[in-house]
C-alpha cells in the first residue's frame, strides 16, 4: 500500500502542484462578497478576441476588428486591454480557451469563425459574458440558440454578424457572363463546413439554371492537383475555386492546370483574381472585421446586447480580369457585359494592371448597424433559405 502510494506520489504531486499554480494564477477572478458589480470608472475594458485557426481570411477579420475598435476610440493598451487567443484548430484547446475567456473576467468576448462561436457559447451558458461573433456563415445553423427568422431571437448576451460565403453570387455572375455554360467543375473538402455551405448553394443554383456541377473531393492539400486534373479531364466549361482552406493553399497548381486547358476559373476571393482568375466576387473580410469592431465598441459603451439583431453582413466586391480572358481558348464566349463592367470594383486590364473603380454599385460597405446587405445580388442573398 505504501509502495503504491510512493509510486503514485510523483504523479499526484505534479497534479497537485499544477492545480495550485493554476489557482494562484487565477486569483484575480475570485469574487469577494459585495464586489461583484464594482468597476472603477475609466478603467481599461478587458476584451478577449478568439480565432479558431491561423488563416488569411480569419487574420483579415481579426485585423479588421482591431482597426474597427481603434477607429471607435478603443486602442489596445490604452482604453482597452485586448487579449488574443488562437487554439490553432485544436478542439480541446478551443474548449480550454472558451473556459478561459468566459471565466477570466472579460467585459466582452469577440469570436471569429463558427467553431469558436460554438465552443464559447457552450462555456458561456452560466456566466453570460457579452459575446460578439463574426465570420460565421449561417449563425442560425450553429445550434447556439439563434433563430433563423427573428433577428432578435438570440440569447440576450450573444449577437454578431453572419457572412455567407457568396458562392451563389459567383455562379450568378458566371451565368450572366456566359449563359451557354453547361458544366462547371470544382474541388472541395467535405469536412469543411464553410465549403459545404458554398457547394450546397452552388448546387441549388446550378440545378435551377440547368448547369451540371462536376465535383471532386479532397481531404488534404496534396490531393488537390490530382483532383483538379480528374475534374478537368471530365470536360468542363469553367472551374469554380471553392473558398476551401484545403484547396486554397494549392490554388497556383489549380490555376496552372486550368490555364493549360484554356478553361476559365472563378472564385469567391476577389483578392486572388490577380493570380490568374477570370473573375471573383466575395466579401471583404477586413471590412466585416471593422464593422464588428465598431459594434464591439458600442457594446463596450453600454449598448444592450439583447437589443442588437443578428444580421447578415456581406460587403461584396467584384474584380474582373481581362488579362486572363484574352488568353482563354474561346475569349469571345467570356465577354464581360457592360452592365457588369460598370458594377465591378476593379478590372485587371490585358497588361495586368488593376484599374479600380471605387464608385461601383456593388460593394459599398454599409454604415454601422443599419443596412447589412451591401451586395449587388440582393434578391439572391435574401431568398436563400437556411437549412
Amino acid at each position: 500500500m505504501i509502495k503504491t502510494f510512493r509510486q503514485l506520489s510523483a504523479g499526484l504531486g505534479l497534479i497537485g502542484v499544477c492545480m495550485v499554480v493554476l489557482l494562484l494564477s487565477d486569483l484575480d477572478s475570485r469574487i469577494r462578497p459585495g464586489e461583484e458589480a464594482r468597476r472603477e470608472p475609466g478603467a481599461r475594458r478587458r476584451v478577449a478576441l478568439v480565432q479558431q485557426n491561423t488563416q488569411t481570411i480569419f487574420d483579415a477579420g481579426v485585423a479588421g476588428i482591431i482597426a474597427g475598435l481603434a477607429e471607435s476610440g478603443f486602442h489596445d493598451g490604452k482604453e482597452l486591454h485586448l487579449r488574443k487567443f488562437n487554439p490553432m484548430g485544436d478542439a480541446n484547446l478551443a474548449n480550454a480557451v472558451a473556459k478561459e475567456v468566459t471565466e477570466g473576467g472579460y467585459d466582452l468576448i469577440i469570436s471569429v469563425t463558427t467553431p469558436s462561436l460554438q465552443a464559447i457559447a457552450n462555456a458561456n451558458r452560466v456566466r453570460k459574458v457579452p459575446h460578439l461573433f463574426a465570420l460565421v456563415s449561417i449563425p442560425s445553423a450553429t445550434g447556439v440558440g439563434i433563430s433563423d427568422t427573428d433577428p432578435l431571437g438570440h440569447p440576450p448576451y450573444l449577437t454578431g454578424y453572419g457572412t455567407r460565403l457568396p458562392a451563389e453570387q459567383a455562379f450568378r455572375l458566371l451565368y450572366e457572363i456566359n449563359p451557354s455554360v453547361r458544366r462547371v467543375g470544382t474541388v472541395w473538402n467535405q469536412s469543411e463546413p464553410n465549403s459545404e455551405v458554398q457547394i450546397m448553394d452552388a448546387r441549388r443554383y446550378c440545378k435551377s439554371v440547368g448547369i451540371e456541377l462536376v465535383e471532386a473531393n479532397v481531404d488534404n492539400t496534396g490531393g488537390v492537383a490530382e483532383a483538379t486534373d480528374a475534374v478537368l479531364s471530365r470536360g468542363v466549361d469553367a472551374f469554380f475555386i471553392c473558398g476551401d482552406v484545403t484547396v486554397l493553399p494549392a490554388i497556383e497548381s489549380v490555376l496552372g492546370k486550368a490555364a493549360r486547358r484554356g478553361i476559365p476559373t472563378f472564385s469567391i476571393f476577389p483578392g486572388d483574381v490577380s493570380k490568374g482568375i477570370l473573375f471573383g466576387v466575395g466579401a471583404d473580410y477586413f471590412e466585416v472585421g471593422v464593422q464588428t469592431g465598431k459594434l464591439a465598441s458600442e457594446i463596450l459603451r453600454g449598448r444592450n446586447v439583447a437589443t442588437l439583431p443578428v444580421t447578415d453582413y456581406m460587403p461584396a466586391k467584384i474584380i474582373l480580369n481581362d488579362q486572363v480572358r484574352s488568353k482563354l481558348s474561346e475569349p469571345n464566349r467570356w465577354d464581360f457585359p457592360d452592365s457588369l463592367r460598370n458594377r465591378a470594383n476593379g478590372i485587371i486590364d490585358p497588361k495586368g494592371r488593376l484599374i479600380e473603380s471605387p464608385n461601383a454599385a456593388a460593394g459599398t460597405a454599409s454604415p454601422a448597424g443599419e443596412t447589412r446587405l451591401a451586395s449587388g445580388e440582393e434578391e439572391a442573398t435574401a431568398t436563400t433559405t437556411q437549412p
Binding site: T4, L8, M19, V20, L22, S25, N92, E196
Partner: protein, 321 residues
C-alpha cells in the same frame, strides 16, 4: 477555478483515450492510428443518436460500440489479411473519415439544444445546488461544472476498475501474454488473432467512449475533432509511465489517467499566463518535456543521496513553476 474544473474534466475524458492507446500500444505493441477516426466516430454516433431523441446513456453506449466495431475491423485487416498493423490503422482511419461524414450528414453537429449526459447531469445538480452555483474558496463554480467533473470522475473510475478486472481474468491475461510474446501464446494453443482483434476492439471502444463524452461535454461534434488526438494519447501514456516509473498493470492504468490530466493542466496554465497564442504549442511541448524528464532525474538523485530514506515526493514540483 472553473478553468481548473474544465482542465480536470477534459483531462479525465481524454484519459479514456490514453487508456485506449495504452491497451493497443503498450499491451499489444501496435501503434493503432485508428484512434484518430474512432474518437470522432464515437462523437458522431452519439451526436446523431442524441439528436433523434435516443436516451443519452444508450447513445453513449452505441457510440462506444461503433468504436469497438471499427477497432475489430482494424484487427481483422491486420490478422486475416496480414496487412501491417500501422497500415491497417491508417486504412481504417481513412475510411472512418468518410463514415463519420456519412453518419453526421454534415461536418459539424451542434448538441446544445438536445438532451445529453452533460445536460442531464447539469439539470439534476442545478436543482441540488441552486441556479447560482457554489462558492469554493472564494471562486464561484456553477452547478453544471461540479456535476460534469463528478460524473466524469465516476465514469473514469468505473472504466478503470473494469479494465483492471478484465486484465486479471483468463481472457485478459491471455491478451497481455499475446502482446508480450505471441509465439509463446501460439505454442500454448492460444488464439493470437482473436486476442488481437478483441484487444483492438477494446482499445477503440474506450477511445470512442472518450469521443462520445467529449462531444457531449463541449456541446458539438466535428469531423475534424479527432485529428492528431493519437499523438496526445501517446504522450499522456508516456508521461504517466515517467511519473509512476512502474510497469505493473494497475500503475500503468493509473499512470495513463494521471498523464492525461497533467497534460491538460499544463495547457490550462500556459493559457492562463496569457502567453502569445502562436507560442502555445511550443510551450506545451516544453512542459511535456519537463514532465517527462524531471521525475526520473529526481528519482535518480534521491536514490544516490539516500538509498533507504523515503524522500518527500513533492520534489517533482519545479515543472509547474
Amino acid at each position: 477555478m472553473t478553468l481548473l474544473f474544465g482542465a480536470l474534466s477534459v483531462g479525465l475524458i481524454l484519459s479514456l483515450l490514453s487508456l485506449g492507446v495504452l491497451v493497443s500500444y503498450r499491451l499489444f505493441g501496435i501503434p493503432d492510428i485508428t484512434a484518430d477516426g474512432t474518437i470522432t466516430l464515437g462523437a458522431s454516433v452519439t451526436a446523431v443518436c442524441c439528436m433523434h431523441g435516443i436516451d443519452p446513456f444508450v447513445a453513449t453506449g452505441l457510440g462506444t460500440a461503433a468504436g469497438a466495431v471499427a477497432g475489430s475491423l482494424t484487427g481483422i485487416l491486420h490478422t486475416r489479411f496480414k496487412i501491417n498493423a500501422l497500415l491497417s490503422g491508417i486504412l481504417m482511419m481513412t475510411a472512418l473519415y468518410s463514415v463519420n461524414l456519412r453518419v453526421m450528414g454534415s461536418s459539424n453537429l451542434p448538441l446544445m439544444q438536445y438532451k445529453t449526459l452533460a445536460s442531464m447531469g447539469e439539470g439534476r445538480w442545478r436543482r441540488l445546488l441552486g441556479e447560482e452555483g457554489v462558492l469554493l474558496l472564494g471562486w464561484k463554480v456553477s452547478a453544471g461544472e461540479v456535476a460534469l467533473l463528478i460524473g466524469v470522475v465516476v465514469i473514469v473510475a468505473l472504466v478503470g476498475l473494469a479494465l483492471y478486472r478484465f486484465f486479471r481474468s483468463h481472457l485478459g491475461i491471455a491478451m497481455i501474454a499475446t502482446g508480450n510474446n505471441a509465439q509463446m501464446v501460439r505454442a500454448l494453443g492460444g488464439n493470437v488473432e482473436r486476442n488481437i482483434v478483441i484487444g483492438l476492439a477494446l482499445s477503440n471502444g474506450l477511445i470512442a467512449l472518450g469521443g462520445s463524452l467529449l462531444a457531449q461535454y463541449q456541446g458539438f461534434a466535428d469531423v475534424q475533432m479527432g485529428i492528431g488526438m493519437i499523438i496526445w494519447g501517446l504522450a499522456s501514456v508516456i508521461i504517466g509511465e515517467a511519473l509512476t516509473g512502474s510497469s505493473t498493470l494497475g500503475m500503468r492504468l493509473i499512470g495513463a489517467v494521471i498523464g492525461s490530466v497533467v497534460f491538460r493542466l499544463l495547457v490550462a496554465i500556459a493559457l492562463r499566463w496569457g502567453l502569445n497564442p502562436n507560442d502555445l504549442k511550443l510551450i506545451t511541448a516544453v512542459f511535456v518535456f519537463l514532465a517527462l524528464v524531471l521525475p526520473a532525474y529526481f528519482r535518480r538523485k534521491r536514490r544516490r543521496m539516500a538509498p533507504s530514506a523515503p524522500a518527500p515526493a513533492e520534489k517533482a514540483e519545479p515543472v509547474g513553476s
